[in-house]
């Protein structure tokens, strides 16, 4: 065995490993998708193999993955780097901030900030025009006067980060009547519909103009500059300095007008990200304008199908691939959880004390929010399928463990008593009496875990593990409702199917062994 392994290693080394694809990532909003796609297509045009991991969780997930070497490059903003990633105090001067962030990131994480792309995308606190007119709002100082009577709809990111709401509260004394956490994709609709009065937009968003919103001026210069730039992880710098050089071709080439136009094509016109990026690179002269678009990236060349059913039909191969990936995630994590939790639950019934403690620890895992658990995994396991499997495995433990323990422990006492009194050994009692009697309860635990797993697995898309969460995350980032539904509906159907199937197995075990026998 060992010799074969050694021989394989030698052969592999001799042949030389195939070139590793460069992993390009983005955060889950439209502008980040466009910039990442431009980087990816530029690298491909220069002969590199690229793997896309678009729509990663948020700053913690994307930067954590970069630092851990699971991602090679993604677009980030200097202000975010300064305040949210490095935890430094805000500064005003763009050049100073860039220099500060670049040297601190390199020193701390070995991460390199390439020269900025050429535009700033700062937070834009926006209100409806009638609101601004009737309340005479032009600046954030004006807002602080009336904020106690207004409702804010802010991204979760903004609510928490120091250059977000906490900073506004400190600098301007802004306190809203109510704060609601909203996804970027729905903020604008919520504001337009009057569900909230204030939102946090990005200054480059195409929707600010479309909804005729008023952006309130930062009259005390609270915000640091948010210059967009590519951030490059340590391994790419080491392995392929040429590719890093290629990425700098974008530096200084995208001004704020260009970025707004690209965002508007995505957010207002609903054009595919790949064609927006393709056209942008061509018009910058970075790629040949005539280069035909690879079908896989271009999306439908014809105008997208109008009916939802036709849309689903067109996306069927992608939906099937996402569904099978989703099932794989659920099946593997659930299988591993059954293999561990079932024997553990049974063993715990035989220990005099401490069992409840062990089960509670598993229960506490359940209370860790999915995205947080996934974020914790990144330094240890990077991003992709492996950390997703581990997280789903951890979530599946509790229901299986709890039901196995309770089911085996609570099997009918007089049946167990009779079995013992007639000369069964403890092992025989477990094998022939307790386990069969507990089978329906054990199955119910596995069923609960499976249904939860199908739901939680949609979060795996935030760390690039794919599955039916992929179209949901992408659709949310791009405000594409049909794409969201093309993930959400199969996920819901899958949950129902898994529940129905395992419910059948549960009833069968009940008839086969349990108490509802006639």
């Amino acid at each position: 065995m060992r010799t074969i392994w050694t021989a394989m290693m030698v052969t592999m080394t001799a042949l030389g490993a195939p070139p590793r694809p460069i992993i390009v990532a983005s955060k889950p909003f439209g502008e980040s998708y466009i910039l990442a796609e431009m980087m990816a297509q530029l690298l491909e045009a220069r002969g590199r193999v690229v793997e896309r991991r678009l729509g990663l969780g948020a700053t913690e997930v994307a930067y954590g993955a970069l630092r851990a070497g699971a991602v090679d490059v993604y677009p980030e903003y200097t202000g975010t780097g300064l305040v949210a990633i490095l935890g430094l105090p805000p500064e005003r001067d763009p050049a100073a901030v860039f220099a500060r962030v670049a040297s601190a990131s390199m020193a701390r994480d070995g991460v390199r900030w390439l020269p900025p792309l050429g535009f700033q995308n700062t937070y834009a606190i926006a209100v409806r025009r009638p609101t601004a007119d009737s309340l005479h709002l032009a600046t954030l100082s004006d807002l602080s006067r009336v904020a106690p009577s207004l409702r804010a709809g802010l991204t979760a990111d903004f609510i928490g980060r120091p250059d977000g709401l906490p900073g506004l509260a400190r600098t301007y004394g802004i306190r809203f009547r109510a704060v609601r956490a909203l996804l970027p994709a729905v903020k604008y609709q919520a504001l337009a519909a009057g569900a909230v009065d204030v939102i946090d937009g990005y200054s480059t968003d195409g929707l600010i103009a479309r909804y005729d919103l008023v952006v309130l001026r930062d009259d005390r210069s609270f915000y640091p500059p948010y210059q967009a730039a590519a951030v490059v992880g340590p391994s790419l710098q080491r392995e392929d300095p040429e590719a890093v050089l290629v990425l700098t071709e974008l530096s200084g080439r995208i001004d704020v007008g260009t970025m707004r136009r690209l965002n508007r094509r995505l957010e207002v016109d609903g054009a595919p990200v790949a064609s927006i990026a393709h056209d942008a690179l061509a018009s910058l002269g970075l790629t040949a304008a005539a280069a035909p678009l690879d079908d896989a990236h271009a999306g439908p060349a014809a105008p997208p199908p109008t009916s939802f059913v036709a849309y689903l039909g067109a996306r069927r191969p992608a939906i099937l691939a996402d569904t099978s990936r989703h099932l794989l995630l659920v099946a593997l994590s659930l299988g591993a959880a059954v293999l561990i939790a079932l024997p553990l639950g049974v063993v715990l019934t035989t220990v005099p004390r401490g069992a409840e403690g062990v089960i509670r620890v598993a229960g506490m895992l359940e209370t860790v929010p999915g995205i947080a658990l996934l974020a914790f995994m990144i330094p240890l396991l990077g991003i992709g399928v492996v950390p997703a499997l581990v997280a789903l495995f951890l979530y599946s433990l509790y229901p299986i463990l709890r039901n196995a323990y309770t089911g085996v422990r609570n099997s009918d006492p007089s049946t167990v008593d009779a079995a013992q009194a007639l000369g069964m050994t403890p092992r025989q009692v477990l094998l022939y009496v307790r386990l069969p009697l507990a089978a329906p309860v054990i199955m119910a635990g596995i069923r609960t875990a499976a249904v939860l797993d199908v739901g939680t697995a949609t979060l795996a898309a935030f760390i690039g593990a794919g599955g039916l969460g992929d179209p949901i995350v992408t659709g949310l980032a791009l405000a594409d409702t049909r794409m969201i539904l093309s993930g959400a509906i199969p996920a819901a159907l899958l949950a129902l199917a898994v529940d129905g199937l395992l419910g059948g197995v549960e009833r069968w075990t009940g008839r086969r062994w349990g108490t509802d026998r006639r």
């Binding site: 049946t415 079995a419 009194a421 000369g423 069964m424």
Partner: protein, 252 residues
Amino acid sequence: MSTPRPRIDGGAALRAVEVSKRYGAVVALDRVTIDVAAGECLALIGESGSGKTTLLRSFNRMVEPDAGTVLIDDQPLRSLDPVALRRRVGYVLQDGGLLPHWRVRRNVALVPWLLREPDAEARADEALRLVGLDPTQFGDRWPRGLSGGQRQRVALARALAGAPAVLLLDEPFGALDAITRAELQDTFVGLRSSVAVTTVLVTHDVREAGALGDRMAVLRRGRLEQVGPPAMLRDAPATPYVAALLARGWSR
């Protein structure tokens, strides 16, 4: 251990010597000494909490006494492997304790199967006939599908199928209606005329104790009040408690 399997030929003699057992502050048995002769049926009678079930279960080591000794054929139970011992001692609970996921035949064949006897199923059928059930009719049925009386007959058959040296019955007819109980008592009496196995029967029904027991033992708060043939207890009660208990029982 290669002890030959005991046959149904009178069974083993039981003896408890100065047996005490307490559960926390509750004294379940207080220095109880009693003999059960081979082939005899001893009826243990007393109120709830008198210690009769505790005494019964000390005969198959389901209860370990705090003090005193229990012997089977003059061998201390402590020197025997409890699992091997229990396979020689039949046991019936009030609600039967049949395994709900096993068919009747497999339930009855339990002890022969545990003893790895090749003819376990044949022995099960034989035991079913002994308690008045037709194996072709009942062997393949599930416990849930049986009436209460049928379930207790199956439990009795299961206790007998391993050809035990001793039979321990814990209120085996207690949960049945009066008519079914009388039928099962008749079956039991008939059984004992063909199979003279040493039997300890726990009951709180004085009439049942009198009808089925060769001797009766009255327990009260963990102490033995009196042991003797039913007629002796009735005619010469040793304590006012025994007198009252028996008077109440027979006047019903």
